[in-house]
């Protein structure tokens, strides 16, 4: 190889001369996410890794992600993850580190399930146990999922895509990733980014919807103090709900099961080492891989489509209608209870734990500084996590 040839080769394989418009746009999108994460602290634990790895995978020929996200697979390989890996290697060369993260950790559902495990170890279901009827508000907020799904169907998405888009309204990142990966992996980056972005925008999206649906008098309703919850109840709860939900909606069992194992570790009080590991060591490592893996799916060819914009739009519809669903059901419960329930706590059925509960508290304080309903809003809030997982289970059993 002469020196001229070496130089020509080098220039021909330079990223700069292979850069497409699509790459440039995606790099800018990635940088925007990084900016939002750092400047406005928008879900930085996810949007920062997502954004920066979106930048990285869009540098041409960088060989960090060599495999397509939704490849055409021959039938004998389809549904066989191990054969798929070998086939992709054959077709597209050895995996880059982001291919390994995506195919081995995210496509296999390992990462979303471990996140649910860690979330369980972080979640206190006490407020919901203290006032079980608030769990129904967590169900009501799922209406937003179906509204968005139907809207997506009307706009021409197919059923699996529509379900994945709808679930954004559940405001649970890992559930969104879990479902989209199984049903419509080609729109994973759009739904994941929508889910995490809008979660940060809850304080912007929810207040107008809540105010439009409630009167100041309703927002002023004070609720009576929650009863204390015993350790025994807190231990029995994850076990009971795992069994009940597992028996009724088996397809939700992986999500709910991991969530409740984590919660049992937390509440049992006998495995602090493991509970801490689930919340910290393991959670941090898994979060890194989740962020990098999701970001690496933001490639020009799959992200820069009209679909993505529509998905982002439908995401707002999903969040807003979920809020409306919760509030309206809250009003029904207010009526039935003779005015002892503040309807706003229904808005917290949009999980986004604990942000939507805090939004509710803020609105309550605005009307009456002495009105404390944060803990009452935490009930629907954590119930919303369960509700969304159940809905995901229904989607999986009907479409999976």
């Amino acid at each position: 190889m002469g020196i001229e040839q070496a130089i020509i080769d080098f220039f021909e394989h330079m990223g700069l001369v292979n850069l497409t418009i699509g790459n440039i746009i995606m790099i800018l999108v990635g940088l925007t996410l990084v900016y939002l994460a750092i400047r406005y602290k928008m879900e930085p634990l996810l949007l920062l890794p997502i954004g920066i790895s979106a930048v990285l995978v869009n540098l041409p020929l960088s060989h960090l992600a060599n495999w397509p996200l939704a490849p055409q697979l021959p039938p004998e390989v389809q549904d066989n993850i191990f054969a798929t890996l070998s086939y992709l290697n054959q077709q597209y060369g050895p995996p880059g580190i982001f291919d390994l993260i995506y195919y081995l950790l995210i496509r296999t559902e390992v990462v979303p399930l471990l996140i649910f495990f860690g979330l369980g170890a972080m979640t206190d279901f006490g407020p919901m146990i203290a006032d079980p009827k608030t769990a129904l508000l967590g169900a009501a907020a799922q209406i937003g999922v179906f509204v968005a799904m139907l809207a997506a169907l009307v706009l021409g998405f197919d059923l699996t895509e529509a379900a994945s888009i709808g679930i954004i309204g559940g405001a649970d990142g890992p559930t969104t990733i879990y479902l989209t990966t199984k049903l419509a992996p080609h729109i994973l980056s759009a739904t994941a980014v929508a889910a995490y972005s809008y979660m940060s925008l809850v304080p912007l999206i929810q207040p107008p919807v809540i105010k439009a649906l409630t009167t100041p008098e309703e927002r002023r309703i004070r609720m009576e103090q929650l009863r204390p919850v015993s350790k025994r109840e807190k231990i029995i709860f994850p076990i009971a709900s795992m069994i009940i939900i597992g028996l009724l909606v088996p397809s939700a069992a992986p999500l709910i099961g991991m969530l409740m194992i984590g919660n049992l570790f937390r509440e049992s009080g006998v495995v602090e080492r493991l509970s801490k590991a689930a919340q910290e060591e393991l959670m941090n490592i898994v979060t890194i891989f989740l962020g990098l893996g999701i970001g690496s799916t933001m490639r020009a060819e799959s992200f820069l489509t009209a679909k993505t914009l529509i998905i982002l739009g439908l995401g707002i519809v999903a969040f807003a209608s979920a809020t409306a669903g919760g509030v309206l059901f809250g009003k029904l419960m207010m009526k039935l209870s003779g005015g002892r329930i503040n309807p706003m706590i229904g808005a917290a059925g949009v999980s986004a734990v604990p942000m939507s509960a805090r939004v509710v508290q803020r609105l309550a304080s605005e009307e009456d500084p002495g009105n404390f309903i944060l803990m009452h809003a935490m009930g629907p809030n954590v119930a919303g996590v369960i509700g969304t997982a159940v809905v995901a289970g229904v989607f999986l059993s009907a479409l999976g």
Binding site: A135, L159, K231, V390
Partner: protein, 117 residues
């Protein structure tokens, strides 16, 4: 196809809404039942006994932290070891004499760390 998909979407919606309300409703009923049982159990266990607390009441400050700091303050002020360090239950004096206490400490620690494989 859009119409067909929409019809199926409506079916799934009806099913999904029913299931999510059903499941969370059953969960709610179960929690009421557990709460009722818990209250009965507590009453039964002992009329006089206090109800089971959520978590051990953290009185004032973490005892261990106080102990460490107390010890440090005393060590600082007097430059000598405080008479009583409430940090850890000590083995009997005989062990101090035997000079292998550090072993015991490590071994016991081992136990506390990962159970007893």
């Amino acid at each position: 196809m859009v119409i067909g998909g929409l019809m199926e979407g409506l079916s799934i919606t009806v099913l999904g809404v029913t299931v999510v309300f059903g499941v969370l409703g059953i969960l709610a009923v179960t929690m009421y039942a557990i709460g009722w049982l818990e209250r009965r159990l507590v009453e039964k266990e002992d009329g006089g006994e206090e109800p089971v607390q959520e978590s051990p009441p953290k009185k004032g400050l973490d005892e261990k932290k106080i102990a460490v700091i107390t010890a440090a303050i005393m060590a600082y002020l007097d430059q000598k070891r405080p008479k009583e360090l409430p940090i850890k239950r000590k083995p009997s004096e005989a062990w101090w004499l035997s000079g292998v206490t550090s072993h015991v400490g490590e071994v016991e620690n081992f136990n506390y760390k990962l159970g007893k494989w």
